[in-house]
């Protein structure tokens, strides 16, 4: 395995691992906050039990997210030193803001997790809110740094050096808003659907437990709103990508030839050698409309780019299809949930519905991973789009495959541990409350 490939794999593994915890860190504090707020308002003990149970989960997720995020901040330099040498001064500023947000998050989380009996309940509640706000803020900021890699601005590139650096312009680049919006909604949708799914499953198994009904409803309602909004944000993103990163859009759609009008290619197997997509469904003119808002618009295909500048088309294409499919499943599930809140209320407690929601548990995280694969693999071979190639920025140190194996091994073990721990937490939740019940 050559150094470039090993470094890319290691980065990918680190991101794939971290992003799950980052999403949970953005969305989960809001769920704890809502549960505690409901407890203060209603006095119903189920809500405080729920807030505490969720906060134990958050403690574990946050710790893993914090350390895997630290690893990433070093890995940027360990694997891509040339990139960081140039990108650091341009796009480092958002990270310095993120540092502040992260501090606030960790401090407020410390108070939330350990301060149940130490601070007054309103201070406690507010600390939960601070965790939520700081988490979302740091997410947005980090995504804006990634958006800069896709849509670099705020500097002039002269003879391999960045001059006239403007950090503000770099941060508020042309992709930051679309990406930050899409990711923030995604974090809520994925986390809330996962939480709702787990509680739905538990509710099927423990029908006497009010807590799961409540948990499932809170999480799914927020998740539903996010999932219904997400296609709109996706559309905004797609139009932005079509305009500023046409090669990525062409790879997402496997559009080998520039077309006017361009069809939407759904599914299929793209073959880069023959430049054909086999077994695909084609909807005439739809891509022109989705990319440019006009059924007859021209959409740039991969033929406008030198083959050395093509991203790996099949990976980007498949990942995109998976993301959209998962998004649609979630949006439909969300819409049904909303319907059941307003009309046909009896359905939301039916076994078939709870089972369905349980099946959808991983959909959001699958979509998030797939979406990031579209963003990152779709930008290849560039690390800074149009400016610096990934291969130019890789570390000169040989033997990166060994660190890739090591990091992968550690993250696999940690993933396994986290699953196992969550299972133990959930089992203990039942043991605990059943015990309380007998004492009542």
């Amino acid at each position: 395995m050559d150094v470039l490939l090993a470094a890319r794999y290691q980065m990918a593994v680190s991101f794939i691992f971290h992003i799950v915890f980052a999403c949970i860190g953005m969305a989960m504090p809001w769920l704890m906050f809502i549960a505690e707020y409901k407890w203060i308002k209603t006095g119903n003990e189920a809500y405080i039990t729920l807030a505490k149970a969720w906060s134990r989960g958050v403690a574990i997720f946050f710790a893993v997210g914090a350390v895997s995020g630290t690893v990433l901040s070093f890995e940027l330099g360990l694997l891509w030193p040339k990139f960081m040498e140039h990108a650091g001064p341009i796009i480092g500023m958002p990270f310095s803001w993120e540092g502040t947000a992260f501090f606030l998050e960790a401090i407020a989380l410390g108070i939330f997790l350990y301060g149940w009996n130490r601070v007054n309940k309103w201070v406690h509640l507010v600390s939960g809110l601070v965790v939520g706000i700081a988490g979302v803020f740091s997410g947005i900021i980090v995504v804006s740094a990634n958006a800069w890699m896709n849509s670099p601005s705020g500097f002039d590139w002269v003879n391999g050096q960045a001059i006239n650096i403007d950090p503000l312009k770099a941060m508020f680049n042309k992709a930051w808003f679309q990406q930050a919006l899409h990711m923030t909604i995604a974090a809520f949708a994925s986390t809330c659907f996962a939480v709702a799914g787990i509680h739905a499953l538990l509710y099927i198994r423990h029908r006497d437990r009010e807590i799961h009904a409540k948990a499932h409803r809170i999480a799914l309602t927020i998740g539903a709103v996010a999932a219904i909004l997400q296609p709109i944000s996706g559309d905004i993103s797609a139009k932005n990508v079509a305009k500023y990163q046409p090669a990525k859009l062409a790879a997402m759609e496997s559009l080998f030839k520039t077309s006017k009008p361009a069809p939407m290619i759904i599914g299929g197997i793209p073959d880069t050698a023959t430049q054909e997509v086999k077994h695909a469904i084609r909807i005439p003119k739809l891509l022109s409309f989705l990319a440019h808002g006009n059924f007859d618009a021209e959409v740039t295909g991969l033929d406008k780019f030198d083959k050395s500048e093509w991203p790996p088309v099949p990976i980007v294409h498949f990942a995109f299809q998976i993301m959209v499919l998962m998004g649609m499943i979630m949006a439909l599930t969300g819409a049904l949930h909303m319907l059941f809140l307003i009309k046909w209320k009896e359905n939301s407690n039916k076994n078939w519905w709870l089972k369905w929601v349980a099946w959808v548990t991983p959909a959001g995280f699958i979509a998030v991973e797939a979406g990031w694969i579209v963003t990152e693999v779709g930008r290849q071979p560039w690390i800074i789009y149009g400016i610096m190639k990934t291969s130019e920025s890789v570390t000169p140190m040989p033997g990166i495959q060994y660190s890739f194996y090591l990091v992968t091994f550690i993250y696999l073990c940690l993933s396994f541990m986290v699953f196992w721990l969550m299972k133990r937490q959930i089992n203990s939740l039942h043991a605990e409350t059943q015990y309380v019940k007998q004492n009542d």
């Binding site: 574990i60 914090a66 070093f74 360990l78 650091g88 540092g99 108070i111 721990l421």
Partner: protein, 335 residues
């Protein structure tokens, strides 16, 4: 501008050594204290370790935003010790929170504890090695050469190993002083005994660092003698040691912590006085200084604003966190 940023970098390093150091050190102390000290360690660091840990993230961010060349050189030539320190950071953090939050029962808690303890040594040791490497100046300026010469020798040497040992013991000692204040009556004698042994060990390993420097011919000792600030720091630290011992035996927690903080501060400032303005010493004499590796003015300007603003938000929040958990009347109460 640059001075302000460097000052904040220095403060975050100091706070990382004091606060993050206490947390890492707690794992080291647990090895010395055994089962008896475990409860105190868990209770003492649980609410604060994540906030404490962020000081190093801040230092890294300042480095890659404000001094990108220094960050790049470090992460290229000191890749291996950085990776090992990172692995320590991952394992320590996760093992600790697993131990704290996992429901009790089963053998698995023993494993958490051992992962926690061993990784608590790993990170300070390799951070110390990195520190030694940037002081020593064996870091090459290009990657022409053998793997060993370029990626190993700059940090795998007697001097860097001695700074690794020194930093590990320093972290352990800071933790022991911190834990004295957290200990219950029955564990207090244990922690004060450990604290005194660690103090002796640091003084010895400090001597080892100077000796290694002389053997390597980098003459840190002479540089120390040439700098009035460094000498002042050494004198002050030495004077404070007996005071510290007295306060430990009187079990005056606040004074003990302040003195230990001041001694650590003296060590860092003393080093700083010798090091400044160089960030990384290089083999060809082409050292990376604060001035020649800094980012363009626009970047430094925005970085400074972000940092100053951040400090005004972070420090009060930090003070509140510590007031709730460390200085309130019921801080020794079981959570």
């Amino acid at each position: 501008m640059t001075e302000t940023i460097i000052a904040i970098l220095g403060i975050s390093l100091l706070l990382y050594v004091l606060l993050g150091g206490a947390d890492f050190g707690a794992g080291i102390i647990e090895i010395a204290a055994g089962r008896k000290g475990m409860g105190t360690v868990s209770k003492a660091i649980a609410p604060v370790w994540e906030a404490n840990h962020i000081w190093i993230i801040l230092a890294v961010v300042i480095l890659f935003n404000g001094f990108p060349l220094a960050y790049t050189v470090m992460s290229t030539y000191l890749h291996i010790p950085l990776l090992l320190a990172l692995i320590g950071i991952i394992i320590r953090g996760t093992a600790f929170s697993f131990r704290y939050y996992d429901i009790s029962g089963g053998n698995v808690h023993n494993y958490y504890s051992w992962f926690f303890r061993i990784s608590s040594i790993l990170t300070p040791f390799f951070l110390g090695i990195i520190l030694g490497a940037i002081i020593l100046g064996d870091i090459p300026s290009s990657t022409n050469g053998t793997f060993y010469d370029i990626f190993m020798r700059p940090w795998l040497n007697f001097f860097s190993l001695s700074t690794g040992v020194f930093l590990t013991l320093l972290f352990g000692w800071i933790a022991s002083v911190y834990l004295i204040g957290e200990a219950e009556d029955n564990t207090f004698p244990l922690f004060s005994r450990i604290s005194v042994s660690f103090l002796i060990a640091i003084v010895l390993s400090g001597g080892l660092v100077f000796m290694a420097a002389e053997i390597k011919g980098i003459g840190i000792f002479r540089k120390f003698l040439d700098s009035p600030l460094s000498i002042a720091c050494v004198v002050m630290a030495t004077v404070m040691i007996p005071l510290l011992l007295k306060n430990i035996s009187k079990r005056n927690i606040l004074n003990t912590r302040l003195l230990a903080g001041a001694i650590t501060g003296c060590i860092l400032v003393g080093w700083f006085a010798v090091q400044f303005p160089v960030l990384i010493f290089r083999a060809d004499g082409n050292h990376l200084t604060v001035w020649n590796s800094q980012a363009p003015p626009a970047t430094m300007y925005y970085l400074m604003i972000a940092l100053v603003f951040g400090v005004f938000i972070i420090l009060p929040a930090f003070a509140y966190l510590f007031r709730v958990f460390k200085f309130s009347k019921n801080s020794s109460k079981k959570m």
